[in-house]
C-alpha cells in the first residue's frame, strides 16, 4: 500500500513540475467540465441553460451569417445559430465519444492482452492473430467500414472507435503481463492457491496499469480527431446535434463569405487534442521514468 502510494505521489510531483503537462491538464479539465455541463443541460434542463444564447428564429439578433461581434463573439452560422454556443455544446459529443470509446477499448483490449500474455498457448495465438488482423487496416478506414455496417450514429461511432483501438491496448497489456508473469509475486500467489482469474485481475493487471494509462491519454487525442473526422464526413453524429467535425463541414461551403463557421470549431479540436497530447507526454514521463524524456519529444 505505502509503496504504491509513494509511487503515485512521486508521479504526481513529476507531472506537476512539467509546465506543458499542467497546461494540458488544465485545458483537458476545462473541456471535460464543459462536456459534463452541456451533458447535464441536455439531459436534465432540456437545453435551458444554453438556449438563451443559442438560437431564436424570431429574433433579428439571430440573423444568419453574422460576422463575429460582441453579441456573437464567434459569429452566427447559416441558420443564425450562435457559433460560440454551438462550439461549447460540441464539447459534449467530443468528450463523450472519446472517453467512452477509449474506456471500452482499454477494458476489452487490456483483458484480452493480459489473458493472452498470462495464459500463453492457443489462447494467446488466437487472440494476438485477431489483433494483427485489426491492425491490418488503416484506423480510419476500419472505423468507416464499421460505421457503414452499423449505421450512422453517435453510439456506432463509439463502437467503431472502440474496436479500432482494442489492438493498441491488447498489445501493451500482453507484453506487460508477460513481463509481470515472471515476477516473484505471481509465483507467490500461485503457490498460495489463488485462481488464475484472481491472479490475472488482482495481481497482474494492476501492475500493468501505468503503460495502459499513458496509452489511454494519448489515444484520447486520436479519438477526438477520429470522431471529428467521421462527423466531418457526415458518418458520425447527425445534425442538428452540434459536433465540432460537423460544424467544420457545414462551414466548408461558406469558407470565403463566412470563414468563422469552420474556423472556430476546428480551432477548438486543435486546442483540445494538443492538450491531450501534452498531458499524455507528461504522464509518460511521470509514470515511466525509465524512458528518458530527452530521447523523444
Amino acid at each position: 500500500m505505502s509503496a504504491s502510494t509513494s509511487r503515485t505521489a512521486r508521479a504526481w510531483r513529476s507531472l506537476r513540475a512539467d509546465r506543458a503537462a499542467v497546461a494540458g491538464l488544465a485545458v483537458v479539465s476545462g473541456v471535460v467540465a464543459l462536456g459534463a455541463l452541456t451533458f447535464l443541460d441536455a439531459t436534465f434542463f432540456d437545453r435551458g441553460l444554453i438556449a438563451a444564447v443559442y438560437y431564436d428564429p424570431t429574433s433579428p439578433a439571430f440573423a444568419p451569417l453574422q460576422a463575429p461581434s460582441p453579441a456573437h463573439p464567434f459569429g452566427t452560422d447559416t441558420l443564425g445559430r450562435d457559433v460560440l454556443a454551438r462550439v461549447l455544446y460540441g464539447a459534449k459529443v467530443s468528450v463523450q465519444v472519446a472517453v467512452t470509446a477509449v474506456v471500452v477499448a482499454a477494458v476489452v483490449g487490456s483483458l484480452i492482452g493480459v489473458l493472452a500474455g498470462h495464459s500463453g498457448g492457443a489462447v494467446e495465438t488466437v487472440a494476438m492473430r485477431a489483433v494483427d488482423v485489426l491492425l491490418g487496416f488503416p484506423a480510419l478506414v476500419l472505423a468507416i467500414g464499421v460505421v457503414a455496417a452499423l449505421g450512422f450514429s453517435l453510439n456506432n461511432v463509439v463502437i467503431a472507435l472502440g474496436i479500432v483501438y482494442i489492438p493498441q491496448f491488447a498489445r501493451i497489456a500482453r507484453s506487460s503481463a508477460l513481463a509481470e508473469s515472471q515476477e516473484a509475486y505471481v509465483d507467490a500467489a500461485r503457490v498460495q492457491g489463488y485462481s488464475r482469474t484472481h491472479i490475472v485481475l488482482r495481481e497482474v493487471l494492476p501492475n500493468s496499469l501505468s503503460p495502459l494509462l499513458v496509452q489511454a491519454s494519448l489515444l484520447m487525442a486520436f479519438a477526438i480527431i477520429a470522431e471529428a473526422s467521421l462527423s466531418f464526413l457526415g458518418l458520425g453524429v447527425q445534425p442538428p446535434t452540434p459536433s465540432w467535425g460537423g460544424m467544420v463541414s457545414t462551414g466548408a461551403d461558406y469558407l470565403t463569405t463566412a470563414p468563422w463557421i469552420s474556423l472556430f470549431p476546428g480551432l477548438m479540436i486543435f486546442v483540445t487534442v494538443l492538450a491531450f497530447n501534452l498531458l499524455g507526454d507528461g504522464l509518460r514521463d511521470a509514470l515511466d521514468p525509465r524512458e528518458s524524456p530527452e530521447r523523444r519529444f
Binding site: 488482423v133 488503416p138 484506423a139 455496417a149 473526422s229 464526413l233 458518418l235 470565403t256 497530447n277 530527452e294
Partner: protein
C-alpha cells in the same frame, strides 16, 4: 536465422493476416443494413424478382460458401460490379482511382521528409535551445491539428485570399506534370503535416542516440568539420529507423487521404469508399476497403523486410 528463411517466415505470417482482413471486410459488408438485391432492383423489387436474383447471386447458400466463393473471385481479380455506377466492374473503378491516392500519398511523404528531417537534425544538434523547443512544439501541434480543418485553412489562405495555388482538384501528373504538381501542393501539405511531425520526432531521437556514440566522438576528435560529422556520420546512421517509421506510418497516410480527398475533391480511393458508403454500393466498399487494407499490410511487410536486410540484427533475433 538466415535472411531467406526470415523472408519466407514473414511472408507466411502475412497470409493469415490477409485472410483475416478479407474475412472482416466480408462480415462488415454482410452486416450492413439494407438488402443489396432490393437496392439493385429498385422499383422492380417484386417477390419473384428478389427470389430470382438471390438465387442467381448465390445469396441462399450458407455464409461460408458465399465467403469462399467471393474470396476465390477476388483472388482472380474479380470483385463484382458496382451497384450504382452503371454496373462497372469494381476492379476497374479501383484501378481508375488508385493512382490519384498513391500520387497524393507519395507527394505527402516527400513534403513531410523534406521538412521533417532537417528540422529533426537541427532540433537534436541544438538540444535545449529555442530552435529545439520550436521544433518540438511545432511537431506536437502538427500531430494535433485535424487535417480536414488544416486543408480548409490552407484553401482559404492560398487559394481564396492569396490566389497563388489551386484548391486541390486532381490533374494527372503524367498528362500535365506542372499543373499536376501545382494541384497536389495543398493536399500534400495537409496530409504531410502530421506525418512530418512523426518523422521529425523520430529523426530527433535517433540523432540524439547517435550523437553520443563513440564513432561520432571519434570523427569530431579527428578534427572533421561539424557539418561533415553531423551529415555524413550521425545522420547517415540515424536514417534507418527514420525510414522504418516513415514506412510503418503508411497506414496513417492512407487514413488521412480518406478525409483529405473529400476536402480537395480528389478522385482517389478515399472518396470512392466514402461515396460508396453513402450510396450503399457494397461491392465497391468491399473491394476498395480490401485493396486499401491489403496495400497497407504489404507495405508494412516490405518495410520490415527492407529494414531487416539493412540491419541483420533484426532477422537474427
Amino acid at each position: 536465422m538466415n535472411y531467406a528463411r526470415y523472408v519466407a517466415v514473414r511472408v507466411l505470417q502475412t497470409l493469415p493476416v490477409l485472410l483475416g482482413v478479407s474475412l472482416v471486410v466480408f462480415v462488415i459488408v454482410r452486416a450492413a443494413p439494407g438488402d443489396p438485391v432490393v437496392n439493385q432492383l429498385g422499383i422492380e423489387a417484386t417477390d419473384a424478382n428478389i427470389a430470382r436474383l438471390r438465387e442467381q447471386y448465390g445469396l441462399n447458400d450458407p455464409i461460408y460458401v458465399q465467403y469462399l466463393r467471393w474470396l476465390e473471385n477476388v483472388v482472380q481479380g474479380n470483385m463484382g460490379r458496382s451497384i450504382t455506377r452503371g454496373g462497372r466492374p469494381v476492379t476497374e473503378l479501383i484501378a481508375s482511382r488508385l493512382p490519384a491516392t498513391l500520387f497524393l500519398a507519395v507527394a505527402s511523404m516527400l513534403v513531410a521528409v523534406v521538412i521533417a528531417v532537417p528540422a529533426g537534425v537541427v532540433s537534436a544538434v541544438r538540444k535545449g535551445t529555442t530552435e529545439d523547443r520550436a521544433v518540438t512544439f511545432s511537431a506536437l501541434a502538427g500531430v494535433s491539428v485535424p487535417n480536414f480543418w488544416l486543408g480548409l485553412v490552407l484553401i482559404l489562405l492560398f487559394a481564396r485570399w492569396a490566389q497563388v495555388l489551386p484548391p486541390g482538384n486532381y490533374v494527372d501528373p503524367l498528362v500535365d506534370p506542372v499543373e499536376g504538381l501545382r494541384h497536389v501542393i495543398l493536399p500534400a501539405v495537409t496530409v504531410g503535416t502530421a506525418f512530418a511531425a512523426l518523422i521529425a520526432r523520430q529523426t530527433r531521437s535517433s540523432m540524439l542516440d547517435n550523437l553520443s556514440e563513440d564513432f561520432v566522438r571519434t570523427a569530431r576528435a579527428k578534427g572533421l568539420p561539424s557539418r561533415t560529422v553531423i551529415v555524413r556520420h550521425a545522420l547517415k546512421q540515424s536514417l534507418l529507423p527514420v525510414v522504418t517509421v516513415a514506412g510503418l506510418q503508411f497506414g496513417y497516410l492512407l487514413s488521412a487521404t480518406v478525409v483529405v480527398e473529400q476536402v480537395f475533391a480528389w478522385p482517389g480511393m478515399g472518396r470512392l469508399i466514402y461515396r460508396s458508403v453513402f450510396q450503399q454500393d457494397y461491392p465497391t466498399v468491399q473491394g476498395a476497403v480490401l485493396v486499401v487494407a491489403a496495400l497497407f499490410v504489404l507495405v508494412n511487410l516490405v518495410v520490415d523486410l527492407t529494414y531487416s536486410y539493412l540491419d541483420p540484427r533484426v532477422s537474427a533475433s
